[in-house]
């Protein structure tokens, strides 16, 4: 896909054109979110103890950032994901897919040094397609059938009231 290739190329170039860590990370996250079409994205870089030293995010407005408060530091379950990663094996680290992924590996010089977080809630399609209409009709039929049978089989001196 040309747009993805362009975004990946841009990310590669960003690594060479920036000399400060945070701008490089930001360019990577911006490119990654563009590649996968995510509204939000973040990348944390952690040290050898698993503590996040740098955490950059894109797509979240300042007001939301202020409400969220402090940034993740890798001391909770995100840290657990980092710690658990060695058990996956280096080649098993999953790629970013679709628009959501927690903790996909960021590799540098063959070692994983960061964790990607891309965020986007997924709501099911609210519009009903042909199959959904059929299932809806079947479900309504089951309600009617069940109610009819329940009435037919109720006790002779029923006491539902």
């Amino acid at each position: 896909m040309p747009s993805r290739s362009a975004a990946l190329l841009e990310a590669a170039l960003a690594l060479g054109s920036e000399h400060e860590l945070e701008p490089v990370l930001r360019r990577i996250v911006e490119s990654a979110t563009a590649v996968v079409g995510a509204r939000y994205g973040a990348l944390g870089r952690y040290d050898e103890h698993g503590e996040i030293q740098a955490f950059v995010h894109v797509g979240v407005d300042a007001g939301t950032v202020a409400r969220i408060g402090r940034l993740p530091r890798g001391r909770g379950l995100l840290g657990e994901v980092i710690v658990a990663r060695p058990h996956l094996g280096g080649n098993d680290i999953p790629p970013i897919r679709e628009t959501s992924n927690l903790g996909s590996g960021a590799l540098a010089t063959g070692e994983q040094t960061g964790t990607n977080v891309a965020i986007d809630p997924l709501e099911p399609e609210r519009g009903l397609d042909g199959g959904a209409w059929v299932m809806l009709a079947v479900s309504l039929g089951l309600i009617l059938l069940g109610a009819w049978l329940a009435l037919r089989w109720q006790p002779l001196r029923h006491r539902e009231a």
């Binding site: 969220i68 995100l78 992924n101 099911p124 109720q154 002779l156």
Partner: protein, 359 residues
């Protein structure tokens, strides 16, 4: 076919029912299904007295849909959330199956709660059924556990925050909370262990206790209706009529769940971010929410302990012969206070925002 081999009294060709009846007789001869036709009092076939059977029907639906979901869900933390998204977007009928599972779980909780209230109101836990009441309370606890682990598995922000509370409660339990710790197993993430609990440990215990529950009902018989003083004079019906009426209610229940799964299909939240608390749990866990605000996270533990301690204590506190709720004013008042408190706390939690909640 050598019908002459059939025992005496077996239906013969030309008798009422014909081939269908003969087939049933043949099956009965081998499986003894007619033993289910033992008489039960007529009131057992009312909806209120069928709530336990409907709870079991919900469990059956959960097992079937759960088996389907396990084919596509991946409990490895890095891909768990994505695998749920894939079920919704890439698996044929995935959203519908997940929707049935999601709504059946809530239906099971509601039906189990209503069944528990029905048993309480009618005093059906009294001698000699105290033991079966305790089995029922254990089943309710397992149901809550299955619901909780189920909400964790989708591994979104809500799940992540719920697990965070779970880990804190595990720490509050001291040594007893060893299982609810990320340190318990070096090689297996806690999400994977909760998955094992959800798909194996809890269902096995649930099914085993349902068998015990049903066996004890058979042992003691359906309890007497408090409004029918002359129990021996009440008409009887075969237990199979009770089963078929539960089947009818179950069909209607499946239809309702199907409609909900289509018009109110569950979504999935964003992948979790550490260090924030912005979500609310599912409605049945909301009553803990204000308690945590007021007294800290350990209040969740104490609230659950007190609720189940009260439930366990019920048959020991109320040992008199009276069955009608009006003639058991202290027990009835206690039930109203407990249920009322849970409702009020839930409403308070609904009114507040998740972001204002202390975590």
């Amino acid at each position: 076919m050598a019908t002459t081999d059939l025992p005496a009294g077996r239906a013969q060709p030309g008798t009422r029912g014909g081939a269908g009846r003969r087939a049933l007789d043949a099956i009965d001869e081998r499986l003894g299904l007619k033993a289910l036709q033992y008489p039960v009092p007529e009131h057992a076939n009312t909806l209120a007295w069928s709530l336990g059977g409907l709870t079991a029907a919900s469990l059956l639906l959960l097992i079937v849909t759960g088996l389907l979901l396990t084919q596509f869900y991946n409990p490895v933390p890095e891909v768990a959330n994505q695998s749920v998204r894939d079920i919704m977007t890439g698996v044929w009928g995935g959203t519908f199956i997940r929707g049935i599972h999601y709504w059946a779980a809530q239906a099971m909780y509601v039906l189990a709660g209503l069944h528990l209230l029905r048993v309480f109101i009618d005093g059906s836990y009294k001698r000699p059924r105290e033991g079966n009441w305790l089995v029922g309370v254990a089943l309710f606890a397992l149901t809550v556990g299955a619901l909780f682990t189920g909400t964790i598995l989708k591994w979104d922000q809500e799940a992540f925050e719920a697990l965070g509370h779970n880990l804190e409660i595990g720490r509050a339990l001291g040594g007893l909370g060893f299982w609810f710790s990320t340190e318990f197993s070096q090689n297996v993430p806690i999400l994977l262990r909760l998955y094992v609990a959800h798909v194996a440990i809890l269902p096995i215990l649930l099914v085993a206790l349902v068998v015990v529950h049903a066996a004890l009902i058979k042992r003691h018989g359906i309890s007497q209706h408090p409004k029918i003083p002359d129990a021996p004079a009440e008409p009887k019906e075969p237990f199979t009529h009770h089963l078929r009426r539960i089947g009818a209610f179950g069909l209607a229940l499946l239809g309702v769940l199907g409609v909900l799964a289509i018009v109110r299909a569950p979504g999935i939240g964003p992948t979790p971010v550490e260090g924030i608390e912005v979500t609310k749990p599912m409605w049945m866990f909301l009553w803990y929410f204000p308690l945590e605000d007021w007294f800290g996270v350990s209040a969740i533990l104490w609230a659950v302990v007190v609720l189940f301690a009260l439930l366990v204590a019920v048959p020991f506190l109320d040992r008199g012969p009276e069955r009608h709720w009006r003639r058991r004013p202290f027990m009835t008042a206690g039930m109203v206070v407990v249920v009322g408190a849970m409702v009020v706390l839930t409403v308070l939690a609904l009114l507040g925002s998740g972001a204002e909640h202390v975590g």
